[in-house]
Amino acid sequence: MKFNSDEIASVIAAEIENFGDQIDVREVGTVLEVGDGIARVYGLSSVMSGEMVEFPNGITGLAFNLEENSVGIIILGDYLKIQEGDEVRSLGKLLSVPVGEAVVGRVLDPLGNPLDGKGPVHTTEQRPVEVIAAGVAERQPVKEPMQTGIKAIDAMTPVGRGQRELIIGDRKTGKTAVAIDAILNQKNTGVKCFYVAIGQKDSSVALVIDALEKHGAMDYTTVIVSGASAPAPLQYLAPYAGTAMAEYFMFKGEHALIVYDDLSKQAVAYRQLSLLMRRPPGREAFPGDVFYCHSRLLERSAKLSDDLGGGSLTSLPIIETLEGEVSAYIPTNVISITDGQIYLQPDLFFAGIRPAMNVGISVSRVGGNAQIKAMKKVAGGLRLDLAAFRELEAFAQLGTELDPATQAKLDLGYRMVELLKQQQYQPMDVAEQIVSLYAATRGHLNEIPVDKVRAFEQALLNQIKDRSPQILENIRTGKDLTPEIEEAIKTAISNCKAGFKA
């Protein structure tokens, strides 16, 4: 099908004929100074905070600081093209980004401009970037599980739809990997995913996009990129823009998952803006409202009431700590805002325990509500048991003689730790997780040598998938661990043990 040029010409002619000839009324100001992504403007006397303004060459900005005699504007675009004395006009609207089905599968900048070379985003709908989060009456408790596909997380710190679960840890501890696995696991669940890369190296973002594409996750994922070379205003805005796109699906009654990778970089961008705007610095030179910057963002994740369609927006913010310092300003802020955190530790990571989750201080405040019954049954006391095992393990390293009960606890613990290890990009189905965890927590793995636990798990799951797939099917549909299913799993385990060459 082709469009001929006459047709387009006639469309344009019709547009010109219908052009409403009105006097253009605008409020203007003059650029006093410009640099570092911000501009100070004289005039714009009735501009409102957060209002969009336009510079002569079509670059937009946001009124950020309203001072007595001037307005501080953050520039969303190339500030090198703006000059002193340029006319700035206020647009009388809030910053909005394109939303809708058209953004899915795309790589966009925080203003919704495509970065993937796949042409313009075909959508007519827009949503304001900054909106007030849903109120108390519009929400309902988080009960529905949001499976991440990672055994350790789904068993011990379950995430529910509408929850905010922080992923926190030093550099190179697998924070992004956890988030990417969670995105991969949303395949065929109808959950739309959004990955917001803030202040990241463009090379690592390219790797993430590549991984998402390879595993078929780009069909339901949008990537919003403001890399390390993007101006600070764009880095600051990226999470809000991504949330606006995700909220579209939430208010449509669908489910969305958003990953902010990472909010420490956003806080740094915000600090830069605030300091350039001469807002007074506070702790660690962050401005006083850096808490509000994150709280209003994360508050927008919600599980909506059934009246509003019951949609949800789950967020996985990421925070990078320095040398495990969780008591720094931004980590404590975000820890207190979110409904739990997954704490990743470098020493565990290097000991080969991946995901390197420290179960002792990782929590999910939504807890068992976000687990299906069967998972609750197999993973009930797992977190506390593992935490106790860590203490015991430290004690056992002293080389003292141990009584048999303690030794048994240790044996179980070693096997549990081994079982919770999981390869990257291999999220597991919840039914399979339940079978594995059942085998371990009920002590069925005690005869298997520790280094063979994962091989055995694989053999067991393969055998069940091949010979008795109804077990998995029953768990998926019934969501409960009935005595019959338990019996079936037990038989499968003993069958597998018989055939398993240790």
């Binding site: 099908m1 344009i12 000839d21 006097i23 203007v28 004395g85």
Partner: protein, 206 residues
């Protein structure tokens, strides 16, 4: 009457503040003497006609190393018989406090505050060609009824707007120029035409 100069991009908050403080005092005194307009015009004239034409004098006024008494002498010699009592006294007060350097911002603030007080509006009109005096008067009267204020019109000629006129009141610009309308048309046509082409495409592919 002299007009305040265009908004310049050199911007000094504290200077503006000083300007407002002294201007308030000046207007108060001038009000008592019933000579607000003439006083403000005199100060404006000192800034535009005297200081504007003689940068050396401005440098002398701004120089803090020159004694206040020397500045007072200069003021007496220059303006002693030309300025009214209020204006001259005011300049002397400035000199004794070493604030003569802020004279231009004081003058600007004073004229702004006077305009506000009497409901006078400064309107800047830009046209592509010079306006004839008859048209000018009609325009002034029309603007006066539209804004219901005593309007002072300042005109500039800018051939780049092609035709029509651009009226600026404070920070608000009323753009009825040919250039502005062409731009608006370009913007609107571009978005609407794109949308309707896309709509037709969707219809065709259904």
């Amino acid at each position: 009457m002299q007009e305040s100069p265009q908004i310049d991009t050199v911007f000094d908050d504290s200077e503006k503040h000083i300007g407002r403080v002294y201007a308030t005092a000046l207007l108060k005194v001038a009000g008592k003497a019933n000579a607000v307009d003439s006083t403000v015009d005199e100060i404006q004239s000192v800034v535009n006609d005297v200081l504007g034409n003689s940068p050396q004098l401005e440098m002398v006024f701004k120089n803090p190393r020159i004694d206040a008494s020397a500045k007072l002498n200069i003021l007496d010699r220059l303006f002693g018989d030309k300025l009214s009592g209020v204006s001259l006294k005011f300049l002397k007060v400035l000199a004794s406090r070493q604030r003569l350097g802020s004279l231009s911002s004081i003058a600007k603030a004073a004229s702004q505050m006077r305009d506000e007080a009497v409901g006078r509006l400064q309107v800047k009109v830009t046209t592509a060609q010079a306006i004839e005096p008859g048209q000018m008067e009609r325009l002034r009267q029309h603007l006066a009824t539209v804004f219901s204020a005593d309007v002072r019109v300042r005109t500039t000629v800018d051939p780049a707007i092609l035709g029509g006129m651009v009226v600026r009141v404070g920070d608000t610009v009323y753009d009825a120029s040919v250039d502005g309308r062409l731009r608006a048309m370009q913007r609107q046509t571009k978005t609407n035409a794109e949308a309707s082409v896309r709509r037709r495409l969707a219809e065709l592919s259904l």
